[in-house]
Assembly symmetry: C3
Homo-oligomer: 134 residues x 3
């Protein structure tokens, strides 16, 4: 299994496109599964269409399901940070993408995104692993 | 790795049982992992018990969490279609099932389902991949 | 592929730490992917930070999103048990962890947990599988 830990500059974005990183990592490999993993406790991975407004819709959804107020027991950091700690339970930080001839078999409208309402971390680590035929 | 893209006729169902497709695909293979993947941006995969009313309960849950109204920025298609575009972030279109001697190791009450509130697409593609001992 | 079915005593806990089980299972193995799977229809798997209050926050979140009242069609068992049957659609019972030199590559603050609002089952089965280089 090949595995790499790379840095992703998310800045103040709550939704960051990871698709190009995944395509580059898989390129030249054969058939197999690409595992995408975030070693973080306040971020998750999603698959979605980008560029038509859904990024904003997703931020609103997260604010509805996980309001950033003082209801949380987990209290360090800014108000509502406890919400960030629940996000990965709903939006898993682990995702598998099938790969054929080095090409991720994503659908036309699918992008893999890092979902990170906790904008206090402008850089995130991403682990990509490839398990294939040998 | 063996991988197949098959068509699933979902019709107007919002919850479609995929378990038989997965059992058939895994049959005759040895030990390994079966990856189930939807190359679509408005559908997800779940594991649940079927036949006791939970399908209806799931539709009601989705309507509560993702109301089909005009709140969404993503606006093409019918009113509320923006909700469909958020579903895969909460209900991942990627799922792994462990397989022993060609048999998926699902629990007695577990079925793998395609969750698709967007009933405008009566046919969906499903990619099944098997990575096992060689 | 090596695969084991083990018993986890969850008692009346709604959030049970599985990390030690996973570390033990992976120990001594090389590089690969560890698949964590629950063969149950009313429990899910999450990755989260433990010990700072988020367990209580998660219970409150589940009660908000899946209220334990009589709204459900799935009606056997105690009032609100229908909610438990929807949990695995939002909190998948399938999770993959990357492993290098027998060590799960979890982040510092990440624990793998069994989420089980249905406390009528004090013992749960857990299937761990390892697919790696051979």
């Amino acid at each position: 299994m090949d595995s790499e830990l790379i840095e992703v500059h998310t800045g103040s974005r709550k939704v960051t496109d990871l698709t190009a990183f995944i395509r580059r990592f898989c390129s030249g490999r054969g058939d197999g599964l690409c595992h995408v993993f975030l070693p973080h406790a306040t971020a998750g991975l999603g698959i979605m269409e980008l560029g038509s407004g859904s990024e904003t819709d997703l931020e609103a959804l997260i604010d509805r399901v996980l309001p950033r107020d003082d209801r949380y027991r987990h209290r360090h950091g800014s108000t509502g940070h406890g919400a960030d700690h629940l996000l990965p339970v709903l939006v898993q930080p682990s995702l598998m993408v099938p790969v054929l001839s080095g090409t991720p078999q994503l659908g036309t409208w699918q992008s893999v995104v890092l979902v990170d309402p906790n904008v206090d971390n402008p850089v995130r680590s991403l682990r990509l692993s490839f398990l294939g035929d040998r």
